[in-house]
Symmetry: C2
Subunit: 254 residues, 2 copies
Amino acid sequence: MSETPALLRSDAPLLSPDALEARLRAIGEERYHNLHPFHRLLHGGQLDRGQVQAWALNRYYYQASIPRKDATLLARLPTTELRREWRRRLIDHDGSGDAPGGVERWLALTEGLGLDRDYVVSLAGLLPATRFAVDAYVHFVRDRSVLEAVASSLTEMFSPSIISQRVSGMLRSYPFVTAETLAYFTPRLTQAPVDVAFALSYVKEHARTREQQEAVMAALRFKCDLLWAQLDALHFAYVAPRLPPPGAFVPEPT
Amino acid sequence: MSETPALLRSDAPLLSPDALEARLRAIGEERYHNLHPFHRLLHGGQLDRGQVQAWALNRYYYQASIPRKDATLLARLPTTELRREWRRRLIDHDGSGDAPGGVERWLALTEGLGLDRDYVVSLAGLLPATRFAVDAYVHFVRDRSVLEAVASSLTEMFSPSIISQRVSGMLRSYPFVTAETLAYFTPRLTQAPVDVAFALSYVKEHARTREQQEAVMAALRFKCDLLWAQLDALHFAYVAPRLPPPGAFVPEPT
């Protein structure tokens, strides 16, 4: 169904904007990374401190690359209105004045988990698969249509639920996790819906042919895939079969 | 040692060309994917037909992207001499006249394993992690210095040994693998050393500062990492814990 490649669908009828939104939500129900076994382990308290550190360390590269991704898209937006809209995301992630942004708040999370800040920022222990997946996102936003680039942000439609699961689950489960450590997530609960409201209405308005609608769905599947691939790599390296690649972070034995 | 980031090594002395080559060979001994457990299983006959199909299907995207990578670098080479040298790689992989190239020979391999040619070429069942790792290679060759781009090809220094292991091991172990199926590899045994002879001498001649030598070593580590990451993804999806991501190839039960 939603897996049929666009090229086979060129004769398919145009979807109504609401039918397109329903298709997009269905992609999340099928592919969003809250369904990944690693997330179940993370939220269910079944990981040890080193495994949670590995998650936070690798996720840092994703967080730190989001403003790089948004600046890349910002540079391609044609109007003041669109750029002002998208600029808000840069402020959310890079901060403003004394207010720290999401990247800084993520470093508070990694420090709260006992990781050295300079080590995290150096990316020395990053899983190569994390780098490849995250860089693929930045390249996608640079190389694809603006419509596809905006659509690739729509995984935020699904993030508030995963964030509330994650925060409550991690606070309940891990003695080494505090509310301060997870402070990153609190603003996201209000920021993500604002971002989604714009991006979703943009996509519903600007996907005017079935081909464009298929490209929008493919962009969201691509984004789900790269989030999923990051958890595959973490699971493989740190849970089962537990084989960190050469040079990657190795947790201290607990 | 060879893991220390370049920025910490800027005060280190220049290596002799032969000392640089020794460092590069040491990187292969530490990081080349012949050391990956998936390769041991593949060559040792411990995979079933579906698992070998998954390897060939995903490896197809790597093979099909090599001439894309080489054309990207070719477009950046400044002299006729360099372009003629690198052009040979395009002929090796894309073929010439009636002589099939490596990409076509790889499709003979996937067909010999019982995979539908159109399905393989469509990339519909590809692991997203394979796409991210392979595309990272093409982007690296486009975005980094020509010296780093040439250096990233040097994993071919290590390939003749793995190819002979693979061919003999797979022929011995798998009733569903024939010499014709593995015909891809035969020309590589002679092509790779010719490629290496040029690329290695180029790197040894043009890495004239320690910083450039560190960049060359980092480029080879990057290449080893992306080969390794492809096997991590195969192992995770098809061996253990055996969780193919949504939409990826699922072997028929045997």
